[in-house]
Each structure stands twice: as C-alpha cells, then as structure tokens.
C-alpha cells in the first residue's frame, strides 16, 4: 500500500478514508448488497404471508387469481426485464465513458418504469371499479369464497410495496440523469449508476416471482 503521494494525485470523487477508487467502489457495492439482503427479507415477510394463506386456502388463490389479467401481468414482466436490460446497458456505457449512451439508456429506463406504473394503475382502477379493495373494504360479489378479501389484501400489499420500489427507482434514475448531464460520471467513477442498477435489478427479480405467484395460478 505505497500510497504516500495519494493526496496529491487522488481523483476528486475519492473520499479520504479509502485507499483507492477500487476499494471505495467495492465498499459501496458491498453496502448495497447488504441493503438488498434487508430488502429480500422485507419482501420475505409478505411472501411468508402468501405461503401461509395459500397452504390454508388453496382454492381461494385459484378462484381469486382469475380476477388478475395474465396478459397485462406478462406485458409488465417484459417491461421490467427490458428496463433491467437498459440499466445494464447504462452501466456499460458509463464503464466505457459513453456519457451520451448512459443518458439515453437512463431515459429509456425511466420511460419503461413509468409504463409499468401506468399499466399497474389501470389494473388497480379496474379492480376498484368492481369493489375489489383490500381487507374490510372488499365488496365484490363475484368470487364464491368467504376469504376472497384475504387474497386481495396480500395482492395489494405485495404489488403495492413493489410499486413503491418502482417509484423510488424512478426518483433514483432521475437523480442519476441529472448528475450524468452535469458530467459527474465517467469510466473512473460511476458508483451511483452501478448500485442503483443493483437496486433496479432486485426490483425486477421480485416482480419475476410475483408474476407467476399472483397471475398464473390457474
């Protein structure tokens, strides 16, 4: 660790408590992975609720999931996978110092994230019009199961928390876009792009599980 001249030659993004850029990058990334672990366990609680109730009321899930439109669920899966691809391309652009490519890929990602939320909005509104609300507010008569509201409580909690993550992701992408336009990122420093990318891919992975578990039961 012969970095006696580090202070004179250190890049602007390097914080003084790191030996070099690589160590700073690896530390940030590891911190993000630890956050993602807490996210997995956060959603894990809801997956646990899903599994417990599915074991108790298997017929309920088969009946209630007929209210979910597989086509739009599949479209949203494709939209999120597409946005994961553009995030991966954005990181690649940053790594190659192609800032224009980074900005374009961030714009496409934000567009796809909005597309996801618009489709989700119409799915929710369609259910609200039928009286499919969570818990005690449930008034829909079309499912012959006394616990139908339970399925939709779980549905709204899981997709709602996921949707909140997509909205936060949009905010983070806009933040990256503003910084990228100011010239903050380069091949030497793109840590925020990398770790926001990790977050976005996790949001994609959670939807990859939610889609078959909620929409494709029958």
């Amino acid at each position: 660790m012969a970095h006696s001249t580090a202070s004179s030659s250190a890049p602007a993004h390097l914080q003084h408590h790191f030996v070099d850029s690589d160590q700073q990058f690896e530390s940030s990334k590891m911190g993000m992975w630890i956050f993602l672990v807490t996210e997995i366990l956060f959603f894990g609680g809801l997956f646990a609720a899903y599994i417990v109730y599915r074991a108790w009321y298997p017929d309920l899930y088969v009946q209630a999931s007929t209210q979910l439109d597989t086509f739009w669920g599949a479209v949203n899966t494709a939209v999120l996978i597409g946005s994961s691809l553009t995030v991966a391309m954005a990181i690649r652009s940053a790594q190659l110092n192609q800032i224009k490519g980074l900005i374009i890929n961030l714009y496409i990602t934000i567009g796809l994230a909005f597309t996801f939320m618009v489709i989700k909005y119409f799915e929710y509104v369609h259910k609200f019009e039928k009286g499919i609300f969570p818990g005690q507010y449930y008034t829909y008569e079309g499912i012959a199961h006394e616990k139908a509201n339970i399925f939709f409580s779980i549905y709204y909690m899981m997709t709602g928390l996921h949707g909140l993550h997509v909205i936060i992701g949009i905010g983070l992408m806009i933040w990256l876009l503003v910084k990228a336009k100011k010239g903050a990122f380069s091949a030497e420093y793109y840590t925020p792009v990398e770790i926001t990318g990790l977050y976005w891919h996790l949001v994609d992975v959670i939807w990859i599980f939610l889609f078959p578990l909620l929409y494709l039961i029958d």
Binding site: D22, F25, E26, K29, M30, W33, I34, L36, V37, I40, L41, G44, G45, F47, A48, I51, V52, A55, W56, P58, T70, A74, T77, A78, I81, G82, S84, L85, V87, A88, M89, R92, Q95, L96, I150, E194, G197, L198, H201, L202, D204, V205, I208, F209, F211, P212, L213, L216, D218
Partner: protein
C-alpha cells in the same frame, strides 16, 4: 479488482432475450394445465432460473467478489428459515382457520 467487468452489448442483449423467452415459457406452460402441485413447482422453478440469470449476469455476481454472492445466498437461507419455522406452526394447528 473484480468489480469492473464490462459485458459486451451483444451479451447483454442475449441475456435480455433469454429472459423474454423464459417469460413466454412461464406463461405458455400454464396453457398445458399441469396438475397441482407441479404447476407451482414449474412456475417457481422458471422464476428461480430467471432470477439466477439476472443476479449472475445483470447484477454481475458471476464476475463479482464471492462475498456479495454469499450475502445473497444467506438472505435466501434466512428467508427459508423464516418460512420453515412459520409453516411448522401454521400447517399443524388443530383449528387451522383463523378469525382473520
């Protein structure tokens, strides 16, 4: 360091294409009406394959420090522990139907 793997654009598009194909297969297998519980096994299996592809090649765990992979694996270990212990209760209740 291991953290700066740069994938080619062709490779990333290939991964994206594989995920689109697997999504189509996930939907297509439901048209075959596989009897329970195998429909759930197939659906979760396909989702797990897709998630593994995303984690390995989009989240770069394939080239990354093994420590980050361990973090992800441990999160799943503790998730399954939570599910397992919960089901040991809920699956074996004398009165399985709760008030809520």
């Amino acid at each position: 360091m291991s953290g700066h793997h740069i994938s080619s654009a062709k490779f990333l598009w290939g991964i994206g294409f594989a995920l689109f194909v697997l999504t189509f297969i996930t939907v297509a297998v439901t048209w075959m009406h596989i009897p329970a519980p195998w429909n759930v096994v197939v659906a979760i299996g396909l989702a797990a394959i897709k998630a593994t592809i995303v984690a390995a090649f989009f989240m770069n765990l394939y080239w990354d420090s093994k420590y980050n992979l361990m973090l992800l694996v441990m999160s799943f270990v503790f998730f399954f522990l939570m599910i397992g212990i919960t089901l040991l209760d809920t699956l074996f209740r004398n009165d399985p139907v709760p008030a809520f």
